[in-house]
């Protein structure tokens, strides 16, 4: 097997420290021809390189780092159908790191590479066709924005939402930070824009059951839970809502701007399903939209890419026993307040009457090692907004208990100024306890709140009628399930980690899967929309192409060596290995040749073609014999 070794002088960079003539003599042996060139990477150098190589030969290049000119020589040798190719960084790893010993180091490097050369096999490039369809998991504001942007390019979009209505948390907002403009003026147009987009197919009350296939050609199975109301027929007149005898009604259509415009029947509360034969809503419905006999349906979709927009949920503050949420009347969270404002429900204090004194507790559970160790950054802004609304609407005395006020966007400071003008009081100190038992006799009938004003020591006991806890952001329930389905690994807080936080914030390590909205970390409305549209752009760029190129067949599985212990399947970080009747199935598009499975396989049945273990052993063997 003829081997050609090309040594580049790199214009003196290499030759000044290394005696290339001596190297040439030391390396030249039967079947190995050593050639020198002053500038191998220059056009003449490349011509020199091409002219000397015959097809079927093995080529070793000793020049600069493979990261620099590796691709040029790699493509050249692929074109010349070379049997094996390897490049050694003679300059960085021998010439430049120490005059003394440079020659021995170079000789060892080249001798090692030469003995390992026959074992290197380049993975070959392959084309993978892409299906022109996009799946978006999560119908919150981020998922919505992504769907709207993507569908403008005539790309079929499947929007899957687990709840009965779209809009996620944004649809229940009353006012928006920082300008306190009305939320529905921003959210509703997006929702209505959705209905006349013909290529967005909406699945509500449904979740992803199973994802198979490869990037560019995913097969997704959805499970749609029954709504018991036909969205096409119903035009949302609301007659059935009024007629339902159960309290709270079994039929709900709670968001102010419901999309789809049809109520949903909660089977758990509905008398019909309890076998009491009630069907008042069915009788009163003029358009015969109620269908009790509906059952869960499965849908199979073929999509090219997936955007994950599963969103966030507020930290469950009932986990903090001494705040008394869900135990004490008069203790609510910011999101309960938003819903109450949004649906114009009356707020009731601890003693049942209208609250005159309200405490807004920032960092409820946040920056606390036993609960949420990080700060979600945007809840201070939301808390301030809530405080101002409470002041204006209930003319209540509002106390803010904060640790650090973190107000994003330039308008934040103006909002703080407005809050102070309206007489909100700010106490710098985290709330230690909320109790119904008064510490001072005169506070009977009110909630006692212990919080030390760290800027002005003295008062630490406060009596209020209503407490609004402002919790931090945690990933939405069920996001671990989506993570395991798609093979995404959440960070230690449970949010999905992007491929590169700064330079690739919406991509993931998985080709063809992108993340949008609060699924990748706490975000406010504008950031969610921003990342939604960015994900849509990435998806469009990917799905526009008819196919994508990828190195494939990195792994060579020797069937008779394999003991079928299947240990490698779980070890692969990219879930590229699967058990199949014929043996181990390597998912071409997912495998990127990291080699973890090869190093884990006990019986050595897996070999990574470009970096086989035999190559390293041979290199070490040559190193041992070299001086």
């Amino acid at each position: 097997m003829r081997t050609k070794v090309f040594l580049c002088e790199c214009g003196g960079n290499i030759s000044e420290n290394l005696d290339l003539k001596a190297l040439k003599k030391a390396l030249a042996s039967s079947g190995v021809e050593v050639l020198r060139h002053p500038f191998l990477c220059s056009p003449e150098g490349q011509a020199f390189f091409e002219a000397r190589i015959l097809p079927g030969e093995a080529v070793l290049v000793g020049a600069c780092s493979p990261h620099l000119h590796g691709p040029t020589f790699k493509t050249l040798s692929k074109k010349l159908r070379v049997r094996a190719f390897h490049m050694v960084a003679l300059r960085e790893e021998a010439a430049w790191i120490g005059k003394e010993g440079a020659y021995q180091r170079a000789l060892r490097l080249l001798k090692g590479a030469l003995s390992a050369l026959p074992y290197y096999q380049a993975p070959d490039l392959k084309e993978f066709p892409i299906t022109k369809a996009l799946l978006i998991i999560g119908g919150g504001i981020a998922g919505l924005s992504a769907a709207l942007k993507a569908s403008e390019k005539e790309l079929p979009v499947y929007l899957v939402e687990r709840e009965a209505f779209l809009g996620g948390k944004a649809v229940f907002l009353d006012r928006l930070y920082p300008r306190l403009e009305c939320a529905s003026c921003l959210v509703s147009p997006r929702l209505s824009a959705l209905s006349h987009q013909k290529n967005i197919r909406l699945y509500t009350l449904s979740r992803v059951l199973q994802v198979g296939g490869r990037p560019g050609a995913y097969e997704v199975t959805l499970e749609e839970r029954p709504r018991y109301v036909d969205p096409e027929r119903c035009h949302g007149c609301g007659e059935c809502l009024r007629v339902c005898p159960v309290n709270p009604p079994a039929l709900t259509m709670d968001p102010p701007h419901p999309v789809p415009r049809a109520p949903v029947i909660h089977a758990a509360r509905c008398l019909h399903f309890k076998g009491e034969g009630c069907s008042r809503c069915k009788e009163v419905c003029s358009r015969k939209a109620i269908r009790f006999e509906e059952n869960p349906r499965l849908h199979r979709l073929k999509v090219g890419g997936i955007i994950v927009a599963t969103g966030f949920k507020p930290y469950p503050v009932e986990k903090i026993p001494y705040y008394g949420y869900k135990r004490l009347p008069g203790v609510i969270t910011l999101w309960d307040l938003e819903k109450a404002f949004c649906q114009k429900e009356a707020l009731r204090g601890f003693d049942g009457g209208p609250p005159r004194k309200v405490a807004v507790v920032h960092c409820a559970g946040s920056r606390d090692r036993r609960h949420l160790s990080y700060c979600s950054e945007i809840c201070c802004g939301l808390a301030l907004k809530a405080g101002i609304l409470l002041r204006e609407r209930l003319s209540a005395e509002v106390y803010h208990f904060y640790l650090d006020l973190r107000l994003k966007s330039p308008e934040g400071e103006a909002l703080l100024r407005r809050a102070k003008e309206e007489g909100l009081r700010f106490i710098r100190g985290q709330v230690a306890e909320i109790s119904e038992v008064p510490l001072r006799p005169e506070d009977e009938g009110r909630l006692t709140l212990l919080a030390e004003n760290t800027l002005q020591p003295g008062q630490k006991v406060w009596a209020v009628d209503l407490v609004v806890l402002v919790p931090g952001f945690v990933p939405e329930g069920g996001s671990e399930e989506v993570a395991s389905l798609l093979g995404l690994c959440p960070d230690r807080f449970g949010f999905f980690s992007p491929r590169e936080e700064k330079t690739a914030p919406v991509e993931t390590l998985r080709k063809g899967i992108w993340i949008a909205g609060a699924a990748s970390g706490p975000k406010d409305l504008s950031e969610s929309v921003l990342s939604g549209e960015a994900a849509a752009l990435e998806a469009l760029l990917f799905l526009e192409k008819s196919a994508f190129l990828a190195d494939t067949e990195w792994v060579d599985w020797e069937e008779e060596r394999c003991g079928r212990c299947w240990l490698c399947v779980e070890v692969c970080p990219f879930k590229a290995l699967r058990v199949s009747p014929k043996g181990l199935k390597v998912e071409e598009a997912l495998c990127c040749g990291c080699g973890l499975c090869a190093s884990a396989c006990p019986s050595g049945a897996l070999r990574i073609k470009p970096f086989p273990r035999q190559a390293y052993l041979q290199t070490l063997e040559a190193l041992a014999n070299a001086p």
């Binding site: 008394g324 109790s435 119904e436 038992v437 510490l439 001072r440 006799p441």
Partner: protein, 258 residues
């Protein structure tokens, strides 16, 4: 059933009635309390100001004396001092070596497997008290109070009193401040703060419909009795259990008219 018992100094003066009620209760439950021979004072709150070695030695001496699986402790302050010393000795080899030198004096040896320190509340909750309940006994609603050392830093079963009292027929009123602080040895600074603390505890029990407060620590009992407001009865939970078992009040260290 026999169990090693550490009475603690307060059993000889301040907590005389607690000690009495434990004695009678144990005998009527058929439990033989084997008093730890030659036990010494656990150091109470004073060791908090002495060097670490003093407190460790006092506790280590008791632990070295106690040969057995479990050591029953009546007062929650003794429980805290013994438990904290035991954990520290298990963790720090340096302390263990020095304490071993000190104990050598009396020929005592501190093995690694020291007994499990068992508070009185968990011990009584473990027994099935319902079969000892005197027929037809309907106790008045009571509230329970654990105080600091049974709740922190070495937490014990904070449902034990509820289990024990309801087993013998007392309806227990749930309260939120059952693990709060009664002021402890604050009175030494004769500060008014302790009034608010104790009155708050009593107020909650009273407001939620309890007719009495069952406590588990002599320090809390005295503070609550004196600062908690005159009319609300505060008694050891062993005294309540004794009454439910039909024992006579004088045996339980209670004034006659109960």
């Amino acid at each position: 059933m026999k169990i090693l018992y550490y009475p603690g100094c307060s059993s000889e003066h301040l907590a005389r009635d607690l000690y009495l009620s434990i004695e009678t209760l144990a005998s009527s439950l058929g439990v033989e309390l084997e008093v730890l021979s030659d036990w010494n004072c656990c150091g109470a709150r004073e060791i908090e100001e002495a060097p670490e070695g003093v407190g460790l030695f006092l506790a280590a001496r008791n632990l070295a004396l106690a040969q057995g699986e479990e050591l029953l402790v009546a007062c929650s302050l003794c429980f805290h001092n013994l438990k904290r010393a035991q954990d520290l000795l298990r963790k720090e080899a340096g302390f263990r070596a020095r304490i071993a030198e000190l104990l050598k004096e009396e020929g005592l040896e501190l093995s690694l497997k020291t007994p499990q320190i068992l508070p009185l509340t968990e011990f009584l909750a473990r027994l099935d008290l319902s079969k000892f309940r005197s027929a037809g006994f309907r106790g008045l609603p009571v509230a329970v109070y654990y105080g600091c050392f049974l709740s922190r830093p070495c937490p014990t079963d904070l449902e034990a009193l509820e289990k024990a009292l309801s087993a013998v027929g007392y309806p227990v009123v749930p309260t939120t401040l059952k693990s709060h602080c009664c002021g402890g040895h604050l009175p030494r600074t004769d500060s008014p703060v302790i009034k608010n603390l104790c009155q708050r505890l009593i107020f909650e029990a009273h407001q939620k419909g309890a007719t009495g407060l069952a406590v588990a620590c002599p320090v809390c009992k005295l503070n609550l009795e004196i600062y908690g407001g005159p009319s609300f009865p505060v008694r050891y939970f062993t005294q309540y259990l004794g009454l439910a078992l039909g024992l006579s009040p004088s045996w339980l260290g209670l004034p006659e008219e109960e």
